[in-house]
Symmetry: C2
Subunit: 225 residues, 2 copies
DNA sequence: AAACGTAATTATGAATTCATTATTCAGTCA
DNA sequence: TGACTGAATAATGAATTCATAATTACGTTT
């Protein structure tokens, strides 16, 4: 363990940024909902100052929207925003795939293989929870493997921003099978160290995810009308 | 034009975010330099509260680094960070090029042609100031043309983060000629509406810029030693 | 009863105050 | 002389206070 890690220097506002972001991402604070400062202060046991600092940061990250003298609202993930965010995410994943392929060490590739197997097992058992977990581990390992903090940070923010989308539309059986296929291709590319290929399939994987989401949202809209 | 632009910015902290970011980008606040809150408050005529809110935002954007109980320091743009940032910027520009090629309207392309001509003229006159201006206008128009706010925001942040690099290393005659060549290719791709081609050359353009920068930094280091 | 206008209440932006942590610097001792 | 101790000072994190803008509630008018 690193020596600096043992000294925990955590400020209230940093803690709040994480907590509040989680509340938004996990859909506890609903989109469009007002975020009354006093109420949050009471329930979190802090004063308004660090809370407001945290809200400013979350606003710059796009999770909430601030209007002067009118407070903060949870930003809603519109379909347009999904359609804007996924291509950017796809571009970042493509780059990550290319870089990771060149930088990953054998032990890390082994770990990804392990996650991949766990994911396949979860798929066969139709265990969504386990599937999402393994899936996320794989993508995170690949992003990490790119050895690029800037890439990692921006990817993390964008991914969090659209994570709620999985609450919006459940995975169809058809899309699920397709996603598994794509992951198989990813592993194949990784094994033969085809950097461009891995990048390509990761980009495609993300864009297909968007297409499936949009399709699911459309049928949902039709059902609602 | 963004809808939020029509709402007048009245809060101090938003103003401060812009002002302070400019001070960092324009190298008025030097990398590694401490940012004493009181001093800044006095010179800007505001209290610590909005200033600190602004610093939190700038920290999340990567322009300053906050250490608990030790204040804020201007983040230094290390060579490693340049080498991490440019590939991400390149990926975003590639995406922007592809999207812009499909979405730009004739009037916008006309405007880009105008900027391109101005850029060529500035090059012939070896007018760096005018060259940078026209160059920036072109890139901005292309990013805007992608019609993707998320892309635009992330690009803007990353571009600002490395803008100081142009203070670090001046454009060599050789690189300048190469950059002009790349811009000519960009225009050619734009004219024939080759989206992938435009994306490719914009990505390459950015990576070549990085290579030139690194080279310039290396010779600078040698000179220093 | 509906619509408008004004007063009361509430929420927010910003300044100030308080408490705690770093830093500086003088003094002591080896 | 140089390194360590500890008090004095300065800077930061967070709470509180104050001023102002927004919202609500109420009463008046038609």
């Amino acid at each position: 363990m690193n020596l600096t890690d043992s000294i925990k220097r955590t400020t209230l506002h940093e803690e709040l940024v994480e907590r509040l972001r989680d509340l938004v991402v996990e859909d506890v604070l609903k989109p469009g909902e007002k975020v009354p400062e006093k109420q949050l202060c009471d329930s979190l046991g802090v004063s308004r100052t660090p809370l407001r600092e945290a809200l400013k940061v979350l606003a710059s990250e796009g999770f909430v929207i601030l209007q002067a003298n009118r407070g903060a609202r949870v930003a809603s993930v519109t379909r347009e925003e999904l359609e804007n965010t996924f291509p950017v995410l796809a571009a970042l994943e493509q780059l990550a795939g290319e870089l990771a392929c060149r930088n990953l060490e054998p032990a890390e590739i082994e770990w990804i293989e392990t996650c991949h197997k766990a994911m396949l097992q979860a798929y066969r058992a139709r265990d969504r929870q386990a599937y999402f977990k393994a899936n996320q581990d794989i993508h995170q390992a690949l992003i990490r493997g790119a050895r690029n903090d800037i890439l990692e940070n921006h990817h993390k923010l964008l991914a969090a921003r659209v994570r709620r989308a999985r609450f919006m539309a459940n995975l169809s059986e058809e899309r699920w099978a397709q996603a598994i296929e794509e992951h198989e291709t990813m592993m194949a590319m990784l094994r033969v160290e085809n950097a461009e290929g891995l990048g390509q399939i990761m980009k495609l994987h993300m864009m297909n995810k968007l297409a499936a989401l949009v399709k699911a949202l459309e049928t949902e809209e039709e059902t609602a009308n």
